[in-house]
Subunit: 408 residues, 2 copies
Amino acid sequence: MILIQEIEHVELTGNVLKNYRRKKKILDLLYHKETLSATELSKKIGVSVPTSISLLKELSEDELVEVRGTGPSKGGRRPAVFGLKSDSIFVVSCELGRYTGKVGIFDAHNQLVAPIVKFKTSIDDDELIDKIYNEVASIVRAKRINPKRIYGVGIAMPGLVDEKEGYNHTIKKEELRNVAKRMRTKFNKLVYVNNDARMQAYGEFIFGAAKGHKNALILNWNWGLGLGMILDGKIYSGAAGFAGEFSHIKFIDDGELCICGKRGCLETVSSAYVIIRRAQEAVKANTVSQLTAKFKGRESEITVEDIIQAARLGDECSINLLGEVGAAVGKALANAIQLLNPDVIVLGGVVSAAKQYVLNPIQQSIHTHSLEQISGDVQLLISESWEQAGLLGTTAMLFQKLFSNMYN
Amino acid sequence: MILIQEIEHVELTGNVLKNYRRKKKILDLLYHKETLSATELSKKIGVSVPTSISLLKELSEDELVEVRGTGPSKGGRRPAVFGLKSDSIFVVSCELGRYTGKVGIFDAHNQLVAPIVKFKTSIDDDELIDKIYNEVASIVRAKRINPKRIYGVGIAMPGLVDEKEGYNHTIKKEELRNVAKRMRTKFNKLVYVNNDARMQAYGEFIFGAAKGHKNALILNWNWGLGLGMILDGKIYSGAAGFAGEFSHIKFIDDGELCICGKRGCLETVSSAYVIIRRAQEAVKANTVSQLTAKFKGRESEITVEDIIQAARLGDECSINLLGEVGAAVGKALANAIQLLNPDVIVLGGVVSAAKQYVLNPIQQSIHTHSLEQISGDVQLLISESWEQAGLLGTTAMLFQKLFSNMYN
DNA sequence: AAAATCTTATTAAAATATTTAAAAAAGATT
DNA sequence: AATCTTTTTTAAATATTTTAATAAGATTTT
């Protein structure tokens, strides 16, 4: 079975290597296109039709590819179209938050084989990998999946993650930082680790609101503000994998002290935490607000959702609060737009649920702070599938790694 | 002759196409590596040694490649090494400034065949293309170059340039904006047009201070501030080709009115023009300064070089002036660092000649305004070959286009 | 509506290209 | 000088493309 060699590090040469690369390329093309005919494939991989057909025959024998009916024609015999075989290639994708994790098994059509499983954990959890493994094992048992058909495992996690090394610099215990290595030891599969905002960005790029936009900024607006960037159609990670640290962009000279040790970071003005704190303060100060009526005396229970809900019901205090943080984020985004000239910006995370209450001030702020020629064509959207974005991004990345030719 | 087909748009198929691609790949590898053996090439292009040798034989017959001696060995027969033939492939590179242009003919070893020629022009000059053509023609005559051996012509020019279309949106007359088309009509060669800051960035990346750094920011600090970005080893242009508009990043709320119509752009604080104006004002106000002594009554003659020169001689007024603009640029760069996590920043342009008088305040400012983890490893350098950076970048880009496989 | 014609896909066989394996050449190392 | 290594060449084996033939369906004509 051809894909396994990626793990076993078998050195391929000559014709065997050529064959292996071509097959991977076919799998990759089918992963992205769903179905293709032998003729189309022959053009895309640069071989003649007979060769293309013989490669497809071999892939069918490996049970990786199957005929999925006939395609359309514009006046001739209709072609047989090929696609990835269902139930033959799976990957495991996991996304971690501050206190929880979720994991799912996906097939080559990016479909979940069972509902996403949630569990309590954190990036500093000693048993993180074991927990993931156990959750996966129980899905595998329940759905009677052949474990050999699982080809890769990926994690999207908060922190300063170096994708190449699979290293999370934010994990406290030094010996636990090499996440990729721990995963490989436990699963013995292809492993991929990256930052959550970047994987969400990739998910939105491949399947969501940023689909088809080669230059997209995707903001994960939560307790921090993580900016995932798709530049020239690829995830951008920066020199050390630290790109997109939007949270700690200097926003106000001599502003409030931030957890990072600097003053006036964007995070100190517009994180979900700050929004809640400001709402709490307003309630404590008896400001006229629906929140005061509802939460007076138990301010610590206020959530971002509550504030958004109040805004929807016309609460001026909440609307103003969301407007102010929106304007701040918009100003910061304007700089990013000026620098990167994206064609779309997608908002995700708890705060983005506020929709027009943050969209409008952001849009306004972008107009004020950047050149019309550059920002004029930027679409500003809210993610419609943020729950799955990170998992789907990780899945797509795993398949890409699986089907890519590392040599070249 | 194989390369000409790129211009004639001959549709290649099957083995002919395969052969053509492989030859291009060999040329590309030799352009970047200077010399390679048949064995090394066979590995890099994925064919066996006999095939590699036969391809090299064909390229030799086309006079594109030649044996350049024998390579080293670690205990066996020494390999013949191949390289691009001198005097057989040339390109024309042109760089425009606000009021002047310079042009040179380069061989495949990136060497000038004659000194750079300078001439007066602007991007709005009706006869721009004719002027370039005539300058090239006279070099061709003087050096007896076979015009058929010139395979491409490139221009690096100021303005909002869309690289894909070869369109400069900043040119006033609508009908002159399609620069690539005008060039193709006149020269009938492969044509490449891009923004000057981006081409200088590419030059620094391939040959200069940013060499080997896959994520580099290169600042063209002149009348405007253009930021050329190398991200993941490629020039980054953005969705519409407008990326890197550093000049008009919002820097001061409700600041000075900028030519772009907005207020408080970085350009209004730290362009070469602003530096000169502030020096002039200081002289008019009889500030204690070497400049006052030298230029009182003829303030309009002050140049940036004069200010830098004064700073070098210890003039406190000039040192402070450069320090202030440096701090401003540093603060803006800090945001870019936070977003993009580059591994090197290179400064070029007239103001960068001030060396430590701007470097130190920039460095200081970066430290203050960005996370140590991200900015800690960033090198801050001054270009040592800015005069040629744009031309060399354009040259490298032309060869890359020439040797790349457009289909794929 | 059936037959003829056109298009495109697939298969088969011949022609060509490429790789593999073995031999020869050239130089390095012992 | 003998042995080892690596490159280059050669010839046999294999793979791939090309060309031609066949198949299958679409379109047009009768």
